[in-house]
Structure formats: C-alpha cells, structure tokens
Symmetry: C2
Subunit: 209 residues, 2 copies
C-alpha cells in the first residue's frame, strides 16, 4: 500500500479546518491512484482530477496566507464572486474533487471491509459500483452513467489492483488492507470535513454533467 | 463555417512538405471543433488532441530551424531515438493527431457530400460513424469502441452542429457546406501528406488502445 501510505493525510485540528498546503501535498499523489486501475481509459478521469488540483493550487499560490485553509478559499470566493459562486473558481474545483476523493474512500473502505462478489472474489466491480453509486452517480447524466458501465468492464482484478497500490510489490492482501485501513483514518476525516464545509457554507450544487 | 474558415490550412508546396509553424498555427483551432459537438463528454477527446499539439510544439520550439517541416521532425526523431521510435516524442503525437484530423476530415466530407440517414436527416450519426470506422476504430480496443457507441448518442443535431461551426450564427446549410468544401481542399491535402510521410518513413504503428 505504499502509494497511499507514503503520502498519508495529516490529522485534522479540532476545528476541522483543512490546511491547504498539506492538503495539496497529500492529494497530489491521488491521480496516480487511477493508474492502479490499469487501463488507459481512466486517463480522462486522472486528468479531470489533476485539473481540479491545479486549479485549487493556482488560487492558493496567489496568496498562501489568505488561503491557508480550504475553508478560507471557499469563503473568500463566496465574497469575491457574486451570483456566479459556487459554480466558479477553486470552489467548483474542490466541489468536484471531493467527489473523486469520496469515490476513492468508499472503494478502499469497501475492500478493507472485505465486501465482495462471492462468485467472483477476485473482481472489484461490486466495490467500484458501490463507490460510484454513493459518490458520483447522481452528478452524472444517463450518458456518463452508461460510459461508466462500459468502463467498469476495464476494472482490474483485485490481486492486480493490490499489486499496483503496492507499487508493483507482491504483498499479502491482508497486509495491504491493514495499510489501507490506516490510510483511511485521516483521509476519511479530511473528506468528511470538506463535505461538511460545503454544506455549512451552502457551497454544494447537485447539477449533473 | 467561420470556425474552420478563419483558420484555413495553406497550400502545400510541390514536395508536399508540411511547414511546422503554419501547421501548428492552423491546427491550434481544431480542438475547438469538439466543442461544436456540444457535450462535455467530448472534453477528453479535446484534451487528447490538445496534448498531441502541445507535444509537437514543444519539440518544434527547441529548434525551429531544424524542425521547419513535420518531415524533418519525424526524420530527426528516427535518428535520435533508437528502437523506442516511432512510439515516442512528436512522432507518436503526430501519429495519433493525424487520426483525429482524418476523423474530422471524413466527417466534414461526408456532410458536404450530403450523405445522410434518410429517416433522420437531421442526425449526423451516420457521418460520425463513417469517420470513426475509417479513421479510428481499428486503433481502439473493444472497450473504447463501446464507449464510442455510447458517446455517439450525445452527437448533436446537424442543424446545431452547423450553427456551432458557424460560431453561433444561423447560416443556411448550403452556405455552410460550401465553406466546408473550400476548407477541405488544403486540409485534406495536408492530412494526406502526413499519412504518406508516415508510410514512407515507416513511422506508422497499428497497436490499439
Ligand atoms: C473515441 C471514443 C470517444 C468517446 C469519448 C467519451 C468520453 C467519455 C468521458 C467520460 C467522462 C470522464 C470523467 C470526467 C467527468 C467530468 O465531466 C466530471 C465533471 O467535471 C467537472 O466539470 C466542471 C464543469 O462544471 S460546469 O462548468 O459547472 O458545468 C469543471 O470543469 C471541473 O473542473 S474545474 O477544476 O475546472 O472546476 C470538472 O472537474 N467529473 C467527474 O465526474 C469526476 C470524476 C471523478 C472520478 C470518477 C471515478 C470513476 C471511476 C470509474 C471506474 C470504472
Ligand atoms: C465516470 C465514468 C468514467 C468513465 C471513464 C471513461 C473514459 C473514456 C475514455 C475515452 C477515450 C477518450 C479518447 C482518447 C483516446 C486515446 O486513448 C487515444 C490514444 O491516445 C494517444 O495515446 C498515446 C499513448 O500511446 S502509447 O504510450 O504508445 O500506448 C499517447 O499518449 C498520445 O499522446 S502523445 O501526444 O503523448 O503522444 C495519445 O494521443 N487517442 C485517440 O484515439 C484519438 C481520438 C481522436 C478523436 C476521436 C474523435 C471521436 C469522436 C466521437 C464522437 C462521438
């Protein structure tokens, strides 16, 4: 599980604010996660997520002190943009990024919890579908949903996915899952905090693409 | 037809060499062509093609005199890279880019020739499918082919496509098609020349993604 373990998320402070700099550093490795799925068809997803990260970083870089936490970015943009907000700037980028993060979280959690298709224990389609249904499906129109169903067929075997997560090393599934569980602690807390912030600040939209 | 007409390709010299600078200038507008298809699902295609162009440009910018024509780029890379070539550098980028260019060419030619589904004269699926079958299908595995079939359902009506090509102006289909025919003259010659060059230099590969 080195891919994720090498780049763990930090523990949140009590006020659950998310430090922008640390967040950007940890999240920078997540696009690589989609390489673990092993097919070129996932390149557009990787680009989409990388684009979100770049957009948030470019806002942060303009004034690191002002944008020290993700909350400060979203709040500043709420003031700066009028009625355009929240469909704009880093607020929009983070709105979508958090869904990708949630997708990864639910997928890993489901694997760590041992959820599987008993007839095909080496497939991860049930885990991916669960993550997709909960994190993304409602934000996708029928066409993207249809494309998802096709792309699902390119999902790797569990053993290959675990090997990729472990940067090519053969590790025991149980060892990998122990690392996943460790990674998920701060990661899930961070993703939850971002979701809560969007609710609190009324920054969430539910249009579909 | 202003999108394409405003950025016409130049006439080729007798030796059919393609001037890199002019080529890059003309081709820079083509990613916008995919916006004319009117759906966000075509964003990944636009990015793929933009990526090809960026890669060719970055090689050109290193030494504009050395890389004055596309042929010179491909020939230099053939010498510079050993057995890696042609799956490398601007040679690879242009190998894929030309397929996207061919796709656009066949689609526009088919529309200009009046090919249509008599039962659905305002759909362009037959034209897109023809272009896909001839330019791309064999380079796509079953999965991407399946995704194409789904994406095809997002293709615009002919009238909307023509309007988008005309930058939002309502023009008569016949006027638009006259411009398309004009555009296609040098465009097709350029695309043909690139294909010939790949054959001559043995730079073509037929693996699928
Ligand atoms: C030859 C065949 C060709 C067929 C082509 C088909 C292409 C298929 C396309 C599939 C879609 C790929 C995934 C991308 C989906 C995105 O559209 C959505 C929405 O993206 C947001 O849209 C926004 C636009 O919004 S609007 O202007 O307000 O309308 C922004 O552009 C935003 O970027 S921003 O940083 O600039 O703010 C951007 O992320 N992205 C997602 O759904 C996220 C996907 C996350 C990961 C999914 C994991 C799935 C794994 C599946 C495994 C089987
Ligand atoms: C939530 C749901 C998520 C589902 C996600 C599904 C995503 C679907 C993906 C669809 C595919 C989008 C189209 C892109 C296809 C590309 O894979 C191929 C091959 O691309 C090349 O691969 C190469 C890799 O080769 S390798 O290393 O040697 O293996 C290079 O990366 C090269 O770039 S380069 O500049 O760096 O050289 C790159 O262009 N591109 C195409 O097929 C071109 C598409 C052109 C336009 C198609 C027009 C279709 C219009 C359809 C309309 C209905």
């Amino acid at each position: 599980m080195s891919l994720l373990m090498d780049n763990q998320f930090g523990e949140l402070p009590v006020d659950k604010s998310v430090d922008t700099k640390f967040f950007l550093e940890s999240v920078a490795y997540l696009p690589l996660f989609f390489d673990c799925l092993g097919s070129k068809v996932f390149v557009p997803i990787k680009s989409d997520i990388s684009g979100n990260i770049t957009k948030i970083r470019s806002v942060y870089d303009k004034d690191p002190a002002k944008y020290a936490t993700l909350q400060q970015i979203v709040e500043s943009e709420k003031e700066a943009y009028g009625t355009e907000w929240p469909k704009v700037g880093a607020t929009l980028a983070l709105m979508w990024l958090k869904r990708g993060l949630r997708f990864i979280q639910i997928l890993l959690q489901s694997l760590a919890d041992g959820e599987k298709d008993e007839n095909n224990p080496n497939l991860i389609r049930v885990n991916i579908t669960k993550a997709y249904d909960q994190a993304l499906k409602k934000y996708h129109g029928w066409l993207v949903q249809k494309i998802f169903k096709a792309a699902l067929l390119a999902a790797p075997y569990k053993s290959d996915f675990i090997k990729a997560l472990s940067k090519g090393q053969e590790v025991r599934e149980e060892d990998c899952m122990a690392s996943v569980r460790q990674f998920l602690i701060n990661y899930t807390a961070t993703v939850d905090a971002i979701y809560e912030m969007y609710t609190t600040l009324n920054a969430e939209l539910d249009y579909s693409v």
